[in-house]
């Protein structure tokens, strides 16, 4: 990704929020939506446009779990680790997923195929355990769900 294309992406996001108060989060959402992450190279452009320091922008990006400063894998599986999912065997499921995908939470496989992330509540607590798999909410997730994903994604067993 060239600096020019990153700058262009930032400027589109900034223009969309022109005149709106407190636009930083919305701009970061736009950039991440377009590029899949917020590249560190985008920070000075955003800071310039909003008359903020780079530290302030970086501080906001790093505060929120949702924003990434590097690309995710081709597939992202977010497993809910909150109480309602724990009550439905969430611990064992998390351990299984880590083992099957050979990843810890917050990591991306070296082959770039999968990112495993923890999430704290997807609002699907009566159908636990829940996961967000490539943006799709899934309920009553079990080991088979994870295995099928791993297989479909070509993750060696």
């Amino acid at each position: 990704m060239s600096p020019a294309s990153i700058e262009r992406c930032v400027m589109v996001a900034v223009a969309r929020m022109k005149g709106e108060p407190g636009p930083l989060l919305e701009i970061l959402h736009s950039v991440q939506h377009e590029l899949g992450f917020v590249p560190p190279e985008a920070v000075p452009f955003i800071a310039d446009a909003l008359n903020l320091s780079r530290a302030e922008v970086h501080g906001v990006i790093s505060f929120y779990h949702h924003f990434r400063d590097r690309p995710a894998g081709q597939h992202v599986i977010k497993l809910c680790r909150a109480e309602a999912c724990q009550a439905m065997n969430g611990h064992a499921l998390a351990e299984f997923a880590k083992q099957r995908l050979k990843l810890d939470f917050g990591q991306t496989r070296e082959d770039g195929k999968v990112t495993l992330e923890a999430v704290y509540c997807l609002g699907n607590c009566a159908c636990a355990p829940s996961a967000m798999i490539d943006g799709q909410l899934r309920g009553r997730v079990d080991e088979q769900t994870v295995s099928e994903c791993a297989e479909n994604w070509g993750v060696p067993a």
Partner: protein
């Protein structure tokens, strides 16, 4: 043309509702049977989702849980005529689980088409706004005060008093900020309302704007709720087009509009001052109060901060009067509240009832015990900051004061059930770990206390008997510091689950 309802609610979708809708369309097209599919919200009986309803001679006949592979068989059996089938549930409104509820705020959930404003109006929608448009602002506030409505987000602060404070401020710009950062595990009533009846929230916010003199509203929506974001965007567009939002609402000369702002995965932003910081585009760090947001809130202006359920309850209060709402409930907890029953439970879902229902009635009556069939060991009420209660406390009525007496809190009305395989020391450790992950870092008791707490629980579990008692006492002291020294509820309330686990399930620590 037969109308078939297939919920578009995120939970129903998570169980395959989209695939059911696709299969229904495909099969019926192939058979030449004309149908109209409405993606309604969920009625909240999640063990029956996806719950498909067919409109037969003006009555609705339900089938569930329906999987895509069941569709052809259901159509063969005559589902479109309401015929018998193993999955047939009959008229779902006469199902005891739903029939016993007192649905005021959630009355339209699963009933209406959330994208259709005319359907909303047909089901008594916007009667509250029409009433409010005919009242002086002070009288709207008085009606809400007299209804006894308290904030449903967790703090249970009287809504009318908050509105009165904002109403009394003189400012060029005031705001209504809707807290839709429903992050507590075990809760989903905000999500269901936004997806299944978004106009009720829009109407409630508009009434709030009229009451306090605000012309701009923000919905701070958590990023984990993409379905709700789509439903809101659709409904806001329609409301604007039809003159229910924007300038000169319904030819009243009054203005009010709403923007949705997305959160970014920070639990702390459900705390109101942290949410305001985030709305302003900053790190979601808690503000010191005073000043109260109602006096100096968003962008330094008077701001009413209420959660989704609170605001969505306002229309029915204005439509039917304060007394109608106040007559439900007990003590100082007036009206109804949508409880959310979740976790390891057979019949989980949304249960709107008057305050005063006991934990037992909820967990065993509605819930039917655990999903695994094992004995219930504990429930956590009120999300990750709520206390764990053992079966011996299940006669406690669910109301704000009664739970406070038991060392707990009702919070956002979520109840998570655990069976007897739960390790309560692990749950206590998790409460502290969660606090450490989600702490905004502004105050020391929360930022450092949570991490020290995790270490202490680990030490208690690993240590020999002698030092264990000392560490348990130290953990209790740490809880004291966090409870009394934290700036907001995250650090301040994390001791609830920790201490309740220690008190009621001490054997798990030894």
């Amino acid at each position: 043309m037969t109308t078939v309802y297939v919920p578009g609610d995120a939970s129903a979708v998570s169980l395959g509702a989209d695939a059911v809708a696709v299969e229904l369309t495909r099969e019926c097209r192939q058979r030449g049977w004309p149908i109209r599919i409405v993606r309604n919200g969920s009625r909240g009986l999640f063990w029956l989702e996806p719950l498909v309803e067919v409109s037969v001679a003006g009555k609705r006949v339900a089938y569930g849980p329906v999987r895509a592979v069941d569709v052809a068989g259901l159509l063969d059996a005559g589902m479109l005529d309401g015929a018998d089938h193993a999955l047939r549930q009959g008229n779902i409104e006469s199902h005891a689980w739903l029939g016993q509820q007192q649905r005021l705020t959630t009355a339209r959930l699963g009933v209406v088409d959330p994208a259709d404003i005319d359907d909303y109006i047909k089901h008594a929608g916007y009667t509250g706004l029409v009433a409010a448009l005919g009242m002086p602002a002070g009288e709207i506030v008085r009606t809400v005060t007299e209804s006894g409505l308290r904030g449903r987000g967790g703090a249970a602060f009287p809504t009318g008093i908050k509105w009165q404070t904002a109403h009394d401020q003189v400012a060029a710009q005031k705001y209504i900020a809707c807290n839709a950062d429903e992050g507590d595990s075990g809760t989903f009533s905000d999500r269901m309302l936004m997806e299944g009846d978004p106009f009720s929230l829009i109407e409630g916010m508009t009434i709030a704007g009229l009451a306090v003199g605000a012309t701009q509203g923000y919905i701070y929506l958590r990023v984990e709720y993409p379905h709700a974001a789509r439903a809101l965007a659709r409904a806001l567009h329609v409301a604007r087009e039809r003159g229910y939002l924007g300038n000169d609402i319904r030819d009243s000369g009054r203005n009010f509009d709403i923007s949705v702002r997305m959160g970014a995965g920070a639990y702390i932003c459900g705390e109101e001052t942290s949410m305001l910081e985030s709305l302003e585009g900053r790190r979601g760090e808690v503000r010191v109060r005073p000043p109260l947001p109602a006096i100096k809130g968003l962008f330094g202006q008077p701001t009413v901060v209420n959660n989704v359920v609170t605001l969505a309850t306002v229309p029915v209060i204005l439509a039917r009067g304060a007394a109608h709402f106040r007559d439900f409930g007990m003590g100082k907890s007036r009206g109804t509240i949508p409880f959310q029953l979740a976790g390891n439970v057979k019949h989980g879902g949304l249960i709107e009832c008057a305050f005063g229902l006991t934990v037992k009635e909820l967990v065993h009556g509605y819930g039917g015990g655990t999903a695994t069939g094992r004995p219930v060991r504990a429930v956590q009420i009120g999300g990750p900051l709520g206390a764990y209660l053992p079966e011996s406390a299940f006669d406690t009525p669910l109301d704000y004061e009664a739970l406070a007496e038991k060392g707990g809190l009702l919070g956002h009305g979520g109840v998570v059930v655990f069976d007897d395989t739960v390790d309560m020391a692990r749950m206590a450790r998790y409460a502290l770990e969660f606090c450490a992950i989600e702490s905004c870092g502004k105050c020391t008791p929360c930022r450092v206390g949570s991490t020290r707490g995790v270490e202490l629980v680990d030490r208690i579990l690993a240590s020999a008997n002698g030092s264990r008692d000392r560490d348990v006492a130290l953990l209790d002291e740490l809880c004291d510091t966090m409870a009394n020294g934290s700036l907001c509820g995250l650090g301040g309330l994390t001791p609830f689950p920790v201490r309740s686990a220690l008190r009621h399930f001490r054997e798990d620590f030894y």
